[in-house]
Symmetry: C2
Subunit: 195 residues, 2 copies
């Protein structure tokens, strides 16, 4: 009997590839074992089961994405940095749809705190250095940036913009232009205005 040489890492890698190929929902002990050419119970020595497997893929994706985003933002500022950050997310989602979907798995607070999640928040905050917002307003702005980026990618990947002109990439550029405008003219004091 030739041993397959499984490790926790190799199992998770296979799960991540499977997620990208077939969708994150297809990541189960069963499908991963099949892909590895191994019987299902063999996974249980390396990984806790289907739930644990998904969590590990999420942590992997979060970390990979944070690495990419950090690299993209390094050496840029202002709108340049904003666009680089946003593009790194969208590109990652395009290349690794399953991993990106994994990114939004609900993690328990303890796991979330130990994940790369906080690095993502820190990157958004760093970008805002170019926009000169007060500290509490920065938090609101971080949330807006996250909403636009995540919301667009999610709708796009769900096929919301598919097969309808104009190109969704064009809309993406417009959304980032608009976000940049909004951040520069941050409306913290305009709350009372009527249109």
């Amino acid at each position: 009997m030739v041993r397959a040489g499984l490790t926790a890492a190799s199992v998770v890698r296979a799960a991540a590839e499977l997620a990208d190929d077939l969708g994150f929902a297809e990541v189960t002990a069963s499908t991963v074992a099949r892909r590895l050419g191994v019987k299902v119970p063999s996974l249980y020595s390396h990984v806790g089961g289907t739930g644990d497997l998904r969590t590990r893929v999420a942590l992997l994706a979060l970390a990979e994405l944070a690495d990419r985003a950090a690299l993209a933002v390094a050496g840029r500022s202002g709108k340049d940095a904003l666009v680089a950050l946003a593009d790194s997310y969208r590109d990652y989602a395009g290349e690794h749809p399953g991993r990106y979907a994994a990114t939004r798995l609900r993690l328990d607070p303890e796991t979330a705190a130990a994940s790369a999640g906080p690095r993502h928040a820190a990157l958004s905050r760093a970008i805002l250095r170019g926009y000169h917002l007060s500290d509490p307003e920065q938090t609101h702005a971080v949330r807006l940036i996250g909403s636009v980026i995540h919301g667009f990618i999610d709708l796009e990947s769900a096929g919301g913009f598919a097969h309808s002109l104009p190109e969704s990439t064009e809309s993406w550029h417009r959304a980032l232009d608009a976000l940049d405008v909004a951040l520069r003219a941050w409306p913290s004091s305009l709350r009372q205005e009527r249109s």
Copy 2:
């Protein structure tokens, strides 16, 4: 043997309630049958199975949400209309988290076209009457509005903003203020600018 009086509609209603209580992922033939006090195979006369059940919940939610949104927007214009539309989405997601999650189930194109989905798009477009954008720019703007609203609600419901000040409702108001600013100063010709 007392008959339970199931109909397709009553089964879907039970499924929707179950989604709101336990999460959309818990909607299965099994859990719904349990909630209805009925054996699993009994559902198959009324509904096609787990997949069909989820699709029907999605269609129900899409229709309910479109009704609410249309009511909210009626008689308003400009920023008022934008805020009313956005709030109707967020309020619905708050009251019916499972149904809202169902809203983002991938439907096959035919089903999607027959759903209330197009009404949602039409509502966003209607709102933009107050912002005087050219037709192709309207499409970009519709996508941005969807991204901000959906992205925020999704991150909020995933617990992304939980337990960290300031209040997420405050951020929501800021995001809509910023969106209003962005729509009024729509950057269709500023694409070349550097920050």
